[in-house]
C-alpha cells in the first residue's frame, strides 16, 4: 500500500512549499491561543494520526492486571513496511467517545497498558511512537486507590531503559505528569499549536497568581508552547500544521509525522541498544537550570560502566 518513490518525493516538495508559507501565521498565535487550539474538539488525536500514517494497524488492549483503559490506545502498525508499536492518549472524536475515553485522562491501568506495549515492543525489537494528548492523569478516587503516582513513576523509570527507539509527538495537550507518563523517549517533537506544561494555565493562575481568571496571562508566563520548549532545548523540533490548525488538514501534519518517523527510525534503529539508552538518559540527565557543581558527565559514564545489562 506504500506509494511509489516519485509520489513520495512530490509530496515532500508540496509539503515544503506549503510549509514555507505558513511560518508567519503560527508566529502570531499567542500562548493562550495555542492552549485553546490544542484542546479544541475536532483536533486530530492519536487514533487519527495512526490511521493516516499506517498501512495496517491492529489495536491491542489491556494491562493484563486490572483493565483496559480506553483513554490510552496501544497497538502495532505497519508504516512503510516497518512494524511499529504505537502508544497514545485518546480523547475520542465526539462527546460520546469523549466520555468513554474519559477525555483522554488515564487511570493507572492506562499507564500500565502503555508499559506493557512498550515492553512487548522492546522484546521484539519494534520501535515505539508515542502520541501525547491529555489534560493530565485522572484525578479520581480509583486512580489514587490503584496508584496513579506509582504507575507514572514506573513508566518514567522503565521508558528510560527501553532498548528500542522511542519517538514522542506532543500532538495536542501535554498535561503534566499524565503526559510525561508516556513522554520519555529519544526524540521529542511538538506540533506547532501543541502545549506542554507542568500544570494547566488555570491551575497556575489560581495557585501562583491567586486568580483563576488570569489563565491567559499564566499561559504566557509558563512558556508552554512548542517554540518555548524548542528554545529551552526540551524538544528536538516543531511539526508544522496548516495555518488554521491541524484539524483543517490532518493528513498534512500526518504526512510530516510519518516522514519524521521514517527518517528517525532509519537512524536510531541502526544504533546499538546501549548507545540508544545512554543517549536518552544523558539528555534527560542534563535538564535543569542551577548554579553550582555541574560535573555530572563523567559520573554518568562511570555509572553506566557499572550497570549490569547495558555494558
Amino acid at each position: 500500500m506504500t506509494k511509489p518513490v516519485e509520489l513520495q518525493l512530490k509530496d515532500s516538495v508540496d509539503l515544503l512549499e506549503r510549509m514555507a508559507t505558513l511560518e508567519p501565521v503560527a508566529n502570531e498565535r499567542s500562548s493562550w491561543d495555542c492552549v485553546m487550539l490544542s484542546r479544541q474538539q475536532g483536533r486530530p488525536g492519536a487514533a487519527t494520526y495512526i490511521s493516516l500514517i499506517c498501512d495496517e494497524f491492529f489495536e491491542l488492549h489491556g494491562d493484563r492486571t486490572y483493565g483496559d483503559d480506553r483513554a490510552m490506545i496501544t497497538g502495532i502498525g505497519m508504516i512503510g513496511g516497518k512494524a511499529v508499536t504505537f502508544i497514545g492518549n485518546r480523547k475520542g472524536t465526539n462527546l460520546r467517545e469523549n466520555i468513554t475515553c474519559n477525555y483522554g485522562m488515564s487511570n493507572p491501568e492506562g499507564y500500565r497498558k502503555a508499559l506493557r506495549a512498550a515492553r512487548q515492543a522492546e522484546k521484539f525489537s519494534r520501535p515505539i511512537v508515542c502520541f501525547i494528548d491529555t489534560p493530565g492523569a485522572y484525578p479520581g478516587l480509583g486512580a489514587e486507590e490503584r496508584g496513579i503516582g506509582e504507575a507514572i513513576a514506573r513508566n518514567l523509570k522503565e521508558f528510560a531503559m527501553i532498548k528500542v527507539p522511542i519517538l514522542v509527538f506532543i500532538i495536542g495537550e501535554g498535561g503534566s505528569g499524565g503526559a510525561l507518563g508516556i513522554g520519555v523517549g529519544d526524540k521529542l517533537y511538538m506540533l506547532e499549536n501543541a502545549v506542554y506544561s507542568v500544570i494547566t494555565p488555570e491551575g497556575f493562575a489560581s495557585i501562583l497568581l491567586r486568580d483563576p481568571s488570569r489563565a491567559k496571562e499564566a499561559a504566557q508566563a509558563m512558556k508552554m508552547t512548542a517554540k518555548d520548549l524548542k528554545r529551552f532545548n526540551i524538544i528536538h523540533d516543531i511539526i508544522k500544521e496548516v495555518p488554521e490548525g491541524a484539524h483543517k488538514d490532518p493528513s498534512f501534519t500526518a504526512n510530516i509525522i510519518k516522514k519524521t518517523i521514517l527518517r528517525d527510525l532509519a537512524i536510531l534503529c541502526a544504533k546499538p541498544p546501549k548507545n540508544l539508552v545512554r543517549y536518552r538518559i544523558r539528555k534527560i540527565r542534563g535538564i535543569g537550570d542551577f548554579e553550582g557543581t555541574e560535573s555530572w558527565w563523567n559520573t554518568l559514564l562511570e555509572v553506566f560502566g557499572r550497570t549490569q545489562d547495558l555494558r
Binding site: 492523569a137 485522572y138 484525578p139 479520581g140 478516587l141 486512580a143 489514587e144 486507590e145 490503584r146 496508584g147 496513579i148 503516582g149 506509582e150 507514572i152 513513576a153 514506573r154 518514567l156 523509570k157 522503565e158 528510560a160 531503559m161 503534566s176 505528569g177 510525561l180 507518563g181 513522554g183 520519555v184 506542554y196 506544561s197 507542568v198 500544570i199 491551575g203 497556575f204 495557585i207 501562583l208 508566563a221 509558563m222 512558556k223 518555548d228 529551552f232 526540551i234 534527560i284 540527565r285 535538564i287 535543569g288 537550570d289 542551577f290 548554579e291 553550582g292 557543581t293 555530572w296 559520573t299 554518568l300 562511570e302 555509572v303 557499572r306 550497570t307 549490569q308 545489562d309 547495558l310
Partner: protein, 260 residues
C-alpha cells in the same frame, strides 16, 4: 517555667524537652510532627558521620518568572536551608548509606532543578560507591515556578533510579507527611522498599483536586500512609523510634546472600 509545645493533631501541650526526646512524636496521640532536615539526620545517622554534598547548588529562574528570585531568597532566609533537600553520606548503625532528606518547610518541598539534581546526585553517589540510598520525601510536588524544567525533574530522578537499579544498589524510600504530586509520581514510588511514617498524607493529586473531580468530600483516611499500605504501595509503616534500626536491618539484608 518550662517551655511547652502544642500538638498540631490533638492540641495537647507537652514540654519541649519531651517532644525532642520523643523524636517530635506527640506523647499523647502519637502524631508524627514534621521534622527539619537537620533533626531528621541527627535521628538517623550515626553521630558525627554525616557529610553533606551538593550544598552549593542554587536555583536559577529558568522561565524568568516574576517574583521567583525573591521567593527563593526569602525561603533561604526563613528556613536556614538553601533548598528543599539536604543530601550527604553517613553511616547508620555502622552501615554506609547515602541520605537525602526533603523538607516541606522550603517552598512546600517542591521539586525544581536543584532538588532534582541533588536527588540524582545522591543516587549516582550510591551507584558508584555501592552504598544504599535512603530518601526521606516531603513534598507538595513539582516546583511550577520553574515551568517545564520542574516537570522534567520527574523524568530525571526516575531515570537515575533506573540506573541505580541496574547497578543493584538498593533504594529505600521513607514517605513522610506530606508527599504528593510530582515527587509521588517519580522517585518516591520507586524504592525497592518503601516505608512510611504513620498518618502521613501520600498521593498524587491533592485532596482538594480530587474532591473537585468527584464533587464530594473524600472518605476518612483517604491517601494516608495506612491507606497506601492497604492499597499495596507501601511496604511497611514504621514509627519514628524504629526507623533507624529498620533502615539498618534493610541495608544489611540487601547485601546479597548468594553469589557475592
Amino acid at each position: 517555667m518550662e517551655a511547652t509545645r502544642a500538638c498540631p493533631a490533638c492540641h495537647q501541650q507537652s514540654p519541649a524537652a519531651t517532644w525532642e526526646h520523643s523524636l517530635m512524636v506527640c506523647p499523647h496521640c502519637g502524631h508524627h510532627d514534621r521534622l527539619e532536615a537537620a533533626l531528621r539526620i541527627a535521628q538517623i545517622a550515626d553521630p558525627g558521620s554525616f557529610r553533606e554534598f551538593g550544598a552549593d547548588l542554587r536555583s536559577r529562574n529558568p522561565i524568568d518568572l516574576a517574583g521567583y528570585d525573591e521567593k527563593l531568597m526569602q525561603h533561604r532566609k526563613q528556613s536556614s536551608m538553601n533548598e528543599a533537600v539536604v543530601t550527604g553520606n553517613c553511616t547508620i548503625e555502622g552501615e554506609l548509606a547515602v541520605v537525602a532528606v526533603m523538607s516541606f518547610d522550603f517552598m512546600g518541598g517542591s521539586m525544581g532543578s536543584v532538588v532534582g539534581e541533588k536527588i540524582t546526585q545522591a543516587m549516582f553517589e550510591g551507584a558508584l560507591e555501592k552504598k544504599a540510598v535512603i530518601i526521606f520525601t516531603a513534598s507538595g510536588g513539582a516546583r511550577m515556578q520553574e515551568g517545564i524544567f520542574s516537570l522534567m525533574q520527574m523524568a530525571k530522578t526516575a531515570s537515575a533510579a533506573a540506573l541505580l537499579e541496574q547497578t543493584v544498589v538498593p533504594l529505600f524510600i521513607v514517605l513522610t507527611h506530606p508527599t504528593t504530586g510530582g515527587v509521588t509520581a517519580s522517585f518516591a514510588m520507586l524504592g525497592d522498599v518503601i516505608l512510611a511514617e504513620p498518618g502521613a498524607l501520600i498521593g498524587f493529586a491533592g485532596p482538594r483536586v480530587i474532591e473537585g473531580t468527584i464533587g464530594q468530600q473524600l472518605p476518612e483516611g483517604f491517601q494516608t500512609a495506612e491507606f497506601q499500605l492497604e492499597k499495596g504501595f507501601v511496604d511497611a509503616i514504621v514509627s519514628r523510634d524504629r526507623l533507624r534500626s529498620t533502615l539498618a536491618f534493610l541495608i544489611r539484608t540487601h547485601k546479597g546472600t548468594c553469589h557475592d
